[in-house]
Structures are given as structure tokens and as C-alpha cells.
């Protein structure tokens, strides 16, 4: 009896220790976000008076307004708004195209195998390990020849080309677990290449489509190197504009505006994770727990 009690006490102690640990780690992890949020809500004077971590005395959205539509980037004082739009114009077609092509590639590599299909897949995988820096110069030259240098369509092309290896990997590994008999049955039913893809294969692939979209969205939205290398001025994506806001200042450094701008730049990816995050985990583990 006494043993049982001490046993359950031990268990409870263990639990408490685990939760304390988790809470401490979570707080530590949330600390930067906390600083960002409170700083962005404070007037600049309050920040320069030394209040950094504490709650703002006077809450103001001025910094957010400034970051969105007034802050100066280079010589233009337009705020992040036009660059946010640039990023959307870049990310939406780039995600759609790379996911679509990846799905088609995966479909062909698993259900319409041709001699050397695995070799081609191997080559595609190679692309996943290619460092960004390695392709900057050849890509700049290619974009120049195509007449797409410094434009958003050019950036879309770069991201699509770079994303295909990842999306193909996702879809190929997902489709490999779909039985080949499914395609055969559809062939006997009279369906052709695209009909099978559209009516049979794609409807089963929602989880992996979501995974691919989230992955590509975060990669492309957060990309800085390609943005800064292949665009300039008013066609830059938001990451480049954010860098310019933060790094180029005249007079006092506007911490509150910087923080607000960084939050604005991060909101879309946060939003995508919150909305579709559960599919992300489900899709990544789909192959493992098939049933």
C-alpha cells in the first residue's frame, strides 16, 4: 500500500519535472518572438529609454503602419506593401508550378516507368543537395539570355527549377506506395495518361500536395539569396526589402519599425503552418502508417 503511494508520488514528481522542463524550453523559445511583438508595439522613445523586454506603457500601432506603408527602402518611402505584393506574385505561381510538375514527375517515375527511370530520379535527387551559391552565376547568365533578368517571372523560373527536385521526391515517394494495380485497373477501364493522373492519382494525394505546397511556400517566401541576386529595385521580394529597411537607416535606428517589418514578412508562413500544419505531419508520416 505504502509502496503503491510512493510509486505514484514518484510518477507525479517525474511528470512535474517534465512539464517544468517543457515550459522553460518553450519560454526560452518564445522569448525572441515576445521581444519582437512588444518592441513593435512601443513608441521609439520608450525603447531608447531602456524598456526592452517589459510590456509597452503606451501601445501604439504606428510602427506597424510605418513598416507597411511609410518606411523608406532605399530612396522610395513606400513601406513593405509593394514588396509584399511582389512576393505573393512570385510565390503563388512558383508554388503551383513546382508542385504541379513534381506531381507529374512522381506519377511518371512510379506509374509509367521507362528504362532508366531510377537513374533520372537519382539525377533529380542530386538537385536537392546542390548549394544555392553554386548556381548563381550560370542562372544569372541563363536569365539574361531568356530576357528575364531582374524580373519576377525570372525569379519564379529559378524557384520552380530549384523546387522540382524536392517536389518530385515528395510525390515519387508517395506514389510508390499506391498499388500499380490502380493504374492498371484504370487502363482497363479505358482511362488514358492524364485521365488516370487527374481522376485516380491526384485525388488520393491531398496530404502530399499540402506537404509540397507548405514546403515550397516556406522555401520560396523566405528565400533571400535568389531574391537579392536576380531582382533589383521595385521588383524585389519582401525578404530583400526587409533587409534594406533594417540595414539602411538614417538617424536613430527604428527598432520598433524593424520588428514590425520582420513580423509582417513572417506572417504568411506562420499562417500557412497554422492552417495546414496538421496535414504536414500527416503527409510526412503517410507512408509510414499506411492502413
Amino acid at each position: 500500500m505504502a509502496d503503491a503511494i510512493s510509486q505514484s508520488n514518484k510518477m507525479r514528481l517525474g511528470r512535474i519535472a517534465i512539464y517544468v522542463c517543457l515550459v522553460v524550453v518553450a519560454l526560452l523559445y518564445l522569448m525572441p518572438l515576445w521581444v519582437m511583438v512588444v518592441t513593435s508595439l512601443k513608441p521609439l522613445d520608450e525603447i531608447y529609454n531602456g524598456s526592452f523586454i517589459g510590456l509597452p506603457k503606451a501601445v501604439t500601432l504606428d510602427a506597424w503602419r510605418s513598416a507597411w506603408s511609410e518606411a523608406c527602402i532605399g530612396t522610395e518611402c513606400t513601406g513593405l506593401k509593394p514588396y509584399f505584393v511582389n512576393s505573393l506574385l512570385m510565390v503563388i505561381p512558383a508554388v503551383a508550378l513546382s508542385t504541379g510538375i513534381g506531381a507529374l514527375n512522381g506519377y511518371i517515375l512510379t506509374k509509367w516507368k521507362f528504362p532508366g527511370a531510377n537513374f533520372v530520379f537519382g539525377l533529380l535527387l542530386f538537385g536537392c543537395f546542390l548549394p544555392y551559391q553554386a548556381i548563381l552565376i550560370p542562372m544569372a547568365r541563363t536569365l539574361g539570355l531568356l530576357g528575364l533578368a531582374g524580373s519576377i517571372p525570372g525569379l519564379v523560373l529559378v524557384h520552380v527549377a530549384y523546387g522540382i527536385c524536392f517536389t518530385t521526391l515528395f510525390f515519387r515517394n508517395y506514389f510508390v506506395s499506391l498499388p500499380d494495380e490502380l493504374t492498371k485497373a484504370a487502363m482497363v477501364d479505358g482511362a488514358g495518361f492524364f485521365r488516370i493522373f487527374w481522376s485516380v492519382i491526384l485525388p488520393t494525394s491531398i496530404p502530399i500536395i499540402v506537404v509540397s505546397c507548405i514546403w515550397q511556400f516556406t522555401q520560396i517566401w523566405n528565400d533571400f539569396l535568389f531574391g537579392v541576386s536576380f531582382t533589383s529595385g521595385s521588383s524585389s521580394p519582401i525578404t530583400v526589402a526587409l533587409n534594406n529597411i533594417v540595414n539602411v537607416t538614417t538617424g536613430r535606428k527604428q527598432y520598433n519599425v524593424d520588428m514590425a517589418a520582420a513580423m509582417i514578412a513572417a506572417i504568411p508562413t506562420l499562417f500557412v503552418y497554422i492552417v495546414a500544419g496538421r496535414y504536414f505531419v500527416r503527409g510526412l508520416t503517410a507512408g509510414a502508417v499506411k492502413g
Binding site: P179, L182, A185, V188, D189, S199, V200, T204
Partner: protein, 366 residues
């Protein structure tokens, strides 16, 4: 008119030949079972009939028309797969309709076909469910429904029962047989289960290593197997193959078999052509005896063998009795409680059912 002719068909992957000149021909309404162990080429052959695999050599004709270069949809066939291959995101109704939709058949006609098929298979109450909500047997029915609405010249079944549990398998087997009787469509059915082959087929093709070993009606395959391989593959427990020596005296043909510690057994009055009897007299042969062709000797059927019983395995309706003849293990199926392990048993043999095989080629001797 829906005959199927497989004419000297070959299939090779590079240098690996998986089918070597297979020729099978069946008539309208026949139920052909391709029977063999995994890797014998039976599924490959079925896929070639369906048009899902290319044909390396030879010709396949469905209803007299060569289909070698036709795509599956133009061959007028329907296929039921081992994993059922139901489209997971579609309801049962959409699954059954899919093929008709592609062939642009009017909605009213589609509804009628779905209704007929689902009534026949008793799946009307399942039409709005997804495949994941169905049991194995129900999925099997849906897969058959999808095939039936096609009204094909030829049904192809690829091991359709092997994913079901034992009880359901027997039920579905009966159901397939009933379906065949009602529809009268020609069927090609692949299985490795010899019981399925025996119960369903009008024609059985036993295959091994890409070669058809024996093509005949099931009873003939069972009673007069073409060679030792077929004899052992069809029937459970398998046919006993006992090495012996042929002894021809005048008109009477008998086989002598060694029994350790006993006098030599003599299996008398074996039916054999005079020609073969002359040729094999005094030679080594293999004597094939089905387990059920042994019986306990009595006054009307005198003993031809006396053996020491090794193991006794009661199965309920009868008992399997294991002993040694000619250096091999032999199983006899006897009525219950007729033999005891460790005791002597006097057995007689229904000699009209005995099959002799050449000791070298293992082919049947007639």
C-alpha cells in the same frame, strides 16, 4: 462468340525468358484457370491477355481478332485484381461507373447498368460508401461489379481470392462460380490454389517455369496428370510417387515396390497399353497413387501391400496414414480408426486409378 486463343506466345525480359511458346485455346463460355506456383509466368500471361504487358512473340486472339497491338481498353475485356484496385477516393457507385463515364455512356444507361450489377452482387446498399468503409468480401464484389458493367467478351481474374480469409474465400468461390453460370462469359482466372482451380475451372492449365505442363479439364488433370510435377501440384495431400519396377506377365501388368523389412509389394492389374508394357517391362518406373485410392484390405479387396504405419493424422471425416514404401513417405487417406501408429496395416489399392510415370522424363506412361 468470345473464344480466346493464345498462339505460341513468348515473353522475355532481355535474356530472361518467362514464357516459352505457350499455346492455349478455349471456347465461348469456358472457365480457364491458369494454375501454378509464384514465378511460373501465369500472371504475366494474364497481363499480356489484358494488354498490360507487351507480347514478345506469338499471337493472342480474342473472339478471333488478333489483339497484340491493341491497348487494354480496345480489347473488350474486364479485369479483377488481387488487391481489388478500387479507386480509393470514389464511392462504390463512381467506381463502377468510371469506365462507362470514360466511354461516354449516357447517365440513364449508366444508372441501369449499375443497378443491374449491384442487384446481382447484392451491393446496392453500399453504393454510396467509399472503399475504405467496406470489408474484404464487399470490396471483392465491387471489383466484380466494375468488371460486369463492362459486359466484356472476356473476364480476367488475377488471384481474386487470395486476400480473403479462409471462410470468405470459400463463399466467394461459390459466388464466382454462380456468376459464371449466370453470365456465361468466358473467364481466365489466375491462382496458385489448386482447390480453386478444381472447383471453378472447365479447363485448367498447370504452368511451371513459363511452360504449360498440362491443359485439360480439371478431372482429367487430377486423374491422369501429364507428369510428376502436375501430379504433385494438384490434389492435397499430394499424389504419392513411388519408385518401383514394372513387371509384365502375359496380359497382366504389375509394379513391384520395396517395403523395408517386409516382402516386396506387388501392385497388380495396372492399365497400360501393350506397347508401353513391352517398352517398360523390367524397367524402373514411378507409380503414382492418390491417397484416397488406398483402402484397408478385406475379403473382397485382397491386400497388395503390408506396411508399418508411421504416423496417423485424423482429420475428422477420414484419417491420413503415413508409412514408407520404396524409400519414400507415402500418405493414405483411410476411414477413421482403421490403423494405428507403430502397427502393421494391410492395404489394397484401386489399381484402375494408378498412373505410371517414366523414371527419367517424369512424363506419364499410357
Amino acid at each position: 462468340m468470345s473464344t480466346l486463343e493464345i498462339d505460341r506466345v513468348r515473353k522475355a525480359y532481355g535474356n530472361l525468358e518467362v514464357l516459352k511458346e505457350v499455346s492455349i485455346s478455349i471456347g465461348t463460355g469456358d472457365f480457364l484457370v491458369l494454375l501454378g506456383p509464384s514465378g511460373c509466368g501465369k500472371s504475366t500471361l494474364l497481363n499480356m491477355i489484358a494488354g498490360l504487358e507487351t507480347i514478345t512473340g506469338g499471337e493472342i486472339r480474342i473472339a478471333g481478332k488478333t489483339v497484340n497491338d491493341l491497348s487494354p481498353k480496345d480489347r473488350d475485356i474486364a479485369m479483377v485484381f488481387q488487391s481489388y484496385a478500387l479507386y480509393p477516393t470514389m464511392t462504390v457507385r463512381q467506381n463502377i461507373e468510371f469506365g462507362m463515364k470514360i466511354r461516354k455512356i449516357a447517365q440513364a444507361e449508366r444508372d441501369k447498368a449499375v443497378k443491374t450489377a449491384s442487384d446481382l452482387l447484392q451491393i446496392t446498399h453500399l453504393l454510396d460508401r467509399k472503399p475504405s468503409q467496406l470489408s474484404g468480401g464487399q470490396r471483392q464484389r465491387v471489383a466484380m461489379g466494375r468488371a460486369i458493367v463492362r459486359e466484356p467478351k472476356l473476364f480476367l481474374f488475377d488471384e481474386p481470392l487470395s486476400n480473403l480469409d479462409a471462410k470468405l474465400r470459400v463463399d466467394m468461390r461459390t459466388e464466382i462460380k454462380r456468376l459464371h453460370a449466370r453470365l456465361g462469359t468466358t473467364i481466365v482466372y489466375v491462382t496458385h490454389d489448386q482447390i480453386e482451380a478444381m472447383t471453378l475451372a472447365t479447363r485448367v492449365a498447370v504452368m511451371k517455369d513459363g511452360v504449360v505442363q498440362h491443359l485439360d479439364d480439371p478431372q482429367t488433370v487430377y486423374d491422369r496428370p501429364a507428369n510428376v510435377y502436375v501430379a504433385r501440384f494438384v490434389g492435397s495431400p499430394a499424389m504419392n510417387i513411388i519408385p518401383g519396377t514394372l513387371d509384365v506377365t502375359g496380359e497382366s501388368v504389375s509394379a513391384l515396390v520395396d517395403i523395408a523389412g517386409k516382402r516386396t509389394g506387388r501392385i497388380v492389374s495396372i492399365a497400360l497399353s501393350q506397347e508401353a508394357a513391352r517398352k517398360y517391362n523390367g524397367k524402373k518406373v514411378l507409380v503414382g497413387i492418390r491417397p484416397e485410392n488406398f483402402s484397408v484390405a478385406n475379403s473382397s479387396s485382397p491386400a497388395s501391400l503390408t506396411v508399418d504405419v508411421d504416423v496417423v493424422e485424423p482429420t475428422g471425416p477420414d484419417t491420413l496414414v503415413v508409412f514408407q514404401i520404396g524409400g519414400v513417405e507415402v500418405t493414405a487417406r483411410l476411414p477413421p480408426k482403421q490403423a494405428d501408429a507403430g502397427r502393421e496395416a494391410h492395404l489394397s489399392i484401386d489399381s484402375s486409378k494408378i498412373v505410371l510415370f517414366d523414371a527419367e522424363t517424369e512424363a506419364r506412361i499410357d
